[in-house]
């Protein structure tokens, strides 16, 4: 069972390529620091051989962000993270700033249907892509995953919960018949401090079984 997940991860890694180009390195090394570095080295990047992307900034950019199916006209510096735009311009605060190094899953969102850390992604990178946040799972008739979190009390302080909800939704989309063992080993990118793991496992299992234990 675990092997299935490992194979999936391997194939995802292949699809993405090695991931170790300069821009990815900068993205992964702390958003604020990376942003500063990008803006200061813009001139260098422009002339560097092999650079496939055109260089924009450092001046403020006007961009269209598609978030939860709606287009938003946004003005942001090139060094501004997606998380900051979501939270303070679009007032979508479900994604949380928890770690500065994408190590806890608190700011997990979908970008073009792949999970990403909004806190270590620049807003300009998302122009023309489809961003989906935890709020897309709420509303009048909430998705089964957040409802299962309620039924199984899979939240305490709740600050990690939106990240977990997105991670569980994505994991179950890829593994709709996941076993308890697969759930336990497959959702380890998110951290909780209050200790809700036992209840998150139950919530995920409830969704798999399609039942409601409320």
């Amino acid at each position: 069972m675990k092997e299935d997940i490992r194979q999936e991860l391997r194939s995802q890694t292949r699809k993405r390529g090695s991931g170790f180009n300069r821009r990815d390195f900068l993205k992964g090394s702390g958003a604020a620091a990376a942003a500063t570095a990008l803006s200061q080295t813009a001139g260098v990047l422009e002339g560097s051989p092999g650079s496939s992307s055109s260089v924009i900034g450092p001046e403020i950019q006007q961009m269209t962000l598609n978030v939860n199916g709606q287009n938003h006209e946004v003005r942001a510096e090139t060094r501004t993270t997606l998380l900051e735009v979501l939270r303070y311009q679009l007032k979508l605060t479900g994604a949380k700033p928890v770690a500065s190094d994408a190590s806890c899953g608190g700011s997990t969102v979908w970008i073009d249907d792949r999970l990403a850390s909004a806190g270590s992604t620049l807003a300009v990178e998302c122009a023309g892509k489809k961003v989906r946040t935890v709020e897309s799972l709420g509303g009048e008739s909430p998705d089964a995953v957040p409802q299962a979190f309620v039924n199984n009390d899979a939240q305490q302080c709740g600050f990690c919960t939106p990240g977990f909800v997105v991670a569980v939704r994505a994991f179950l989309d890829a593994n709709p018949n996941a076993t308890e063992e697969q759930i336990r080993s497959g959702i380890n990118g998110n951290l909780c401090r209050c200790g809700t793991y036992a209840n998150v496992i139950e919530a995920a299992l409830e969704v798999v079984k399609g039942g409601s234990r409320g």
Partner: protein, 731 residues
Amino acid sequence: MAEVFWPAQGSAALLGGEHNRVDGLAKSTGVAKYAYDIAPDNMLIAQALSCPHAHANIRAIDLTAAQNVAGVVAVEPLKAEGDEVRWEGDLVAVVAAESEAACAEGLAAIKVDYEVLDHYVDDADLDAATGADATRPAGSNTQKADADAEEDAEFERLFGEAAVTFEADYGIHVITHMCLETHGSTCEWNDNKLTSHLSTQNVSGTAGQIAGPLELTAQDVTVHCDYVGGGFGSKFAADAWGVTCAQLAKNTGRPVKYMLTRSQELKNAGNRPSGFIHVKVGAKDDGFVNVWDSSHWGTNGPSGAPVSQNFIPYVFDPPNRRRVATGIRTNSSPARAWRAPNHPQCCAITQTAYDDVARHLGLDSYDVFLRNLSTVGERAAVYEEQMKLGAQLMDWKAKWHPHGKGPKDGSVVSGLGMAIHTWGGGPHNSRATCKIYPDGGVEVFLGSQDLGTGTRTVIGLVVAETLGLELNQVKVNIGSSEYPASGPSGGSTTVGGVSESTRRAATAALNELFAKVAVQLEANADDLEATGGKIQVKGNQNRNIAWKDACNQIGMGPIEAQGEYQGGVTYPRDYEGKRLTDNGVAGVQMAEVAVDTETGIVKMRKFVAVQDIGLIINRKTARSQIYGAAIMGIAYALFEERIMDKASGAFVNAELSDYKLPRMGDVGEIVVELYEPESEYNRGVIGLGEPPVISPGAAISNAVCNALGIRVPVLPMTPQRVLEAISAANP
């Protein structure tokens, strides 16, 4: 008249049931707003600069360059020239800017000239601390069964006649609170009145802390906090950064958000003191510990206090014991209350010694704990019952093997361990206002807060139970200093405080309503009861009036009634044999682990927690809190610690990628048993936040010891420490 005391066990409509928390969907769909989420238009972002030195004097701070950075709006020093910085990471200046990135750029442009001073951070090594003149005496205390005997000679005699005597060392390192929502606030001013959206465990107590330094009265400050992203004892105060945020908002004329960064959170905003002990134990051949002689030490930061000697050894109180405490001053930030202050450390460094009694005598640890229950005081019988329950759930007797004598599966050995704990959990002071509106609506107001424990839901359940309504018919208003004051949420005091004040307020409101409808029901108000959405004559369901129709009789509304609990003052704790709340619980936990002797990795297999908490209001959230405590215990038993670099004095693992916490795959199976016989139910409501987080360290250490046959003396039991212990035992 509605009765204020709780219904008898088994007769409540809602209390003790399985209820979803009322704010669950708001949290799980991301619409719950925390202090960090409040984002008024035109808001500035503030962040602080941390000192890179463990100990230094500030010669000069030059803010000029930072002030000229594009996007920076305000720069303020947080220290004056000549000030001493006593730990790495302390905050020295703050920048408010248009964006997070501009803020970071502004911080990088601040120039601070430090005179670097000598530092000391090693709290585990008592000799080194003594050599560095970093120790201070923290008390000593001796008890002897023979009070008249000369002390040294008596202890020598007692050790001489013990069936087994051994000396050992145990320890547990400093951990941090690691609130996932860092400390801080978002502040906005309107007409010289301040609203501080503060991430706090104490909405009623912090407004004054902000008002004082700003030369305002508390009435000019509203502290607001609907949701708080973790506290664990570290968010009682407004803190310097809470005041600074308000000041920056005033100076700039704009709303300001000032939250600590992750590393600043770990380095400044809360840690739990360490505990290390050297102990000599003498026990009888049945495992009864007759004599205990210990010296323990540890640090809580610059002031240098160890964990309290009052809990050495923990829960057990042997007839002869001598204990000496020494504090160590370190260049690290001051400790804050961490769930059950003193208890987890004292449990971890002493109930491990009790387990080693079993190891040295070849006895079952369960039997040794049982044998020593005669020294625990009034709750011995409760512990015994809880141990029986725990052993059944763990299948202890079938799984038990003597320490180090279990079967080996390749390089993997398994083992069992247990520990017991105690806590108070009596109520804090609390006031509540309950309103019943002519249209049938019900609201309750308390200046309390829900840390994720389910307080909001518990308050709603108490009101609904009292008024005979459903939970969704009650609107609970908490999280503001404008509501009637309640105590800070710490020490498991909240649920008792708010449930008693709420019950009294709702009962008083209901009795007013009874008076309004008594005539229509042709009954005396004293003979009415509220149940199932109706008010009816007791014992005569046919003479009733529906809730809404009853409320129509209120006239010019609403009915508004107060209820309060004030410790030992307002109401007798024990009235005609009945009470709403009580203080003092037991609790037993058992762990089963697998240890890989080649890699040193410890895996949790199963964890059992048996807990009494008096009358349980919401079984579902109560169980969650125990799951959470068990997982937090697994964290400090196996994963997390603050790592201080002796050479630089720096806290080197202050990011989430380096500060190890268990993930979902690390916690194994957890079984929670709520122990609520009628004798416990009748004690009333008792708090739960602290007790279940106490025992995991000792229980898991004892399980590892049972697996290996040797003690891994210091927590957390990282693979490195496990391998070191194995190689030390096999030189």
